[in-house]
């Protein structure tokens, strides 16, 4: 099996995983472990968005809503319900995915810019709810007075206080989530999504129920965005309404396009570039976003397939 072709095919993934697993060992030289967690979490959110954008061909501009619902779901669980990190992740994911599933039927008939606009509108509804309902969410000040708790496995307890321990939890969740996404994409179901991306009319006349598939893809995509959101809340021990804001949705789109929409891992690379640029530049200038914008424009102009798309036409899992 391991001929030259599969070597060049799997080598990037293997190197990528080695970099991710060994990250806490070397990142302190240049930055700090929480930055690594941020990259992986936002990378997961961008890959989740790209499930819909790059692999189904549907642009959502409202994924922050489900990312934020995941974050609030996790934060509120720990604040009010039970001191369980595992339950927080499950509730966050469930809330975000359920919201997407219910909103889906209202929007799946729309295409292109209309779909994008309506997803923004739904996202902003959640933003204003979180902003206004301050007795529950803390409003603009954010949801505080809670923190991630040790995970009790019965035979052992994992303390998540240290950034390194939390990083490995993030990486574990990321590995499971991306494995599921890769499995979905590499199946007849995933290929029917590619068919819709490539040519909706042809897909329809192959007997593929296009709207139903877009609904499923949307729900899966938002579900993984919620997982990322729950992890993001746990990372910061804090949630505020900006997690739900449309500009956060825009950031996910930028990450996906920057890294390469057509490749599976592209959005992770995009997230790494975005997060590191943000971290580095925002400590030097408050206009950091204009520099990120400049990088984005240059990539779109000169490498329309994104950073990974430029490296290899078909880099896949």
């Amino acid at each position: 099996m391991l001929n030259n072709g599969s070597l060049t095919r799997y080598a990037p993934s293997v190197i990528g995983w080695i970099v991710l697993v060994s990250l806490p060992e070397w990142i302190n030289v240049v930055a700090y472990t929480d930055l690594g967690s941020r990259v992986v979490i936002l990378g997961l959110a961008a890959m989740a968005l790209n499930f819909l954008l790059g692999h189904t061909g549907v642009l959502s501009f409202g994924h922050a809503a489900y990312f934020g619902l995941g974050a609030y779901g996790a934060g509120l669980t720990l604040r009010y319900l039970a001191p369980s990190t595992g339950l927080a992740i499950l509730v966050g994911t469930g809330v975000g995915m359920m919201a997407a599933m219910l909103i889906g039927p209202l929007i799946i008939r729309l295409r292109g810019v209309y779909f994008a606009m309506v997803t923004i509108a739904f996202g902003q509804i959640f933003y204003f709810i979180a902003f206004r309902w301050s007795t529950l969410t803390g409003g603009d000040d954010g949801l505080t007075n809670w923190s991630r708790q040790p995970i009790n496995l019965g035979f052992a307890t994992i303390d998540l206080k240290s950034p390194v321990a939390f990083y490995y939890l993030v990486l574990f969740v990321f590995a499971v989530a991306t494995a599921i996404m890769a499995k979905l994409l590499n199946s007849p179901f995933g290929r029917s999504l590619l068919a819709i991306r490539e040519n909706e009319r042809r897909a329809l006349f192959l007997g593929i129920p296009v709207n139903l598939r877009i609904w499923l893809s949307w729900t899966v995509s938002c579900g993984f965005a919620s997982v990322a959101g729950a992890m993001y809340a746990l990372l910061n021990n804090f949630v505020d309404p900006r997690t739900l804001h449309w500009s956060q949705s825009g950031a996910f789109v930028i990450m996906a396009v920057l890294g390469g929409m057509r490749s599976f891992w592209g959005p992770l690379i995009g997230a790494a570039i975005y997060v590191v640029l943000q971290d580095y530049l925002s400590s030097r200038t408050s206009n950091w976003m204009s520099l990120v914008g400049l990088v984005f424009v240059l990539v779109v102009l000169f490498f329309p397939r994104g950073v990974l798309g430029m490296l290899g036409r078909r880099t896949q899992a």
Binding site: L184, S187, P188, R191, L194, N199, R202, L206, G207, V210
Partner: protein, 249 residues
């Protein structure tokens, strides 16, 4: 059993009558050509049969079943498939993937995440057979978008065939092709027809194709049926010559 029966089909867009009161019967194994000048309503007629448009009045029966209101994806399941005037394929996927998606859709695996080895083997075998039939085996792993117009059109026809239709609708299969490509497509259609016992309805501008392939020809002009008959009868028909063949050369 009659394969396709169209009864008094009419389509209006506002005040414009695109198709007026057309009836047609297509038997199993028949190749039927629909010809007519631009704007004659051929494509509208076609779109109603495939379910892209719903008729204003009239009925469409597929194997005695009224399908006038049935959705396109359901018509596919009943045994109809079509190609488009402008080739509709999946350009950024390989020929193999294009056919694989079609075969998986036809076999009803479109929702599966996990596939048994037998099922995967079945799909693989069917894709290989379609590649062999089409003569595209050498180009199987190239992106369809990179292929010649003729090869893209062939891919599209094979995707339609992957659905194992009993009625195949071809909308101008040789549009925009050179002589050699046109000849190759005609040969392919002949071969498929012979092997699969398909009924085929095709719209075509190239008269060499029409008179070479069709068992019967229907001529439309300004939304109405001008004439219907065997190629010999149509060639001899004065009204047709005046309205169409004469002007088209």
């Amino acid at each position: 059993m009659t394969r396709l029966k169209v009864e008094n089909l009419t389509k209006r867009f506002g005040n414009l009558v695109a198709v007026a009161d057309i009836s047609m019967v297509v038997e199993p194994g028949e190749i039927r050509a629909v010809i007519g000048p631009n704007g004659a309503g051929k494509t509208t007629f076609f779109n109603m049969i495939s379910g892209f448009l719903t008729p204003t009045t009239g009925r469409i029966l597929f194997e005695n079943r009224d399908i006038s209101q049935v959705a396109p994806s359901q018509r596919v399941k009943l045994g109809m498939a079509r190609t488009f005037q402008i080739t509709e394929v999946f350009p950024e996927l390989s020929v193999r993937e294009n056919l694989q998606i079609a075969v998986e859709a036809a076999l009803g695996y479109g929702l599966s995440v996990r596939m048994s080895e037998d099922a995967a083997e079945e799909v693989h075998a069917e894709v290989s057979e379609l590649l062999g039939l089409s003569g595209l085996t050498d180009k199987a792993d190239r992106f369809v978008g990179e292929l010649s117009h003729g090869d893209q059109r062939t891919t599209e026809i094979m995707m339609a065939l992957a659905l194992k239709p009993r009625l195949l609708l071809l909308d101008e299969p040789t549009a925009g092709m050179g002589d050699q490509e046109t000849f190759d497509i005609a040969k392919l259609i002949r071969k498929l027809h012979r092997q699969q016992g398909l009924s085929i309805v095709l719209i075509e501008h190239d008269m060499r194709i029409v008179f070479n392939l069709a068992d019967r020809i229907m001529v439309l002009a300004e939304g109405r049926m001008l004439a219907e008959g065997t190629p010999k009868e149509i060639a001899a028909n004065e009204a047709v010559q005046k309205a169409y063949l004469g002007t088209a050369g």
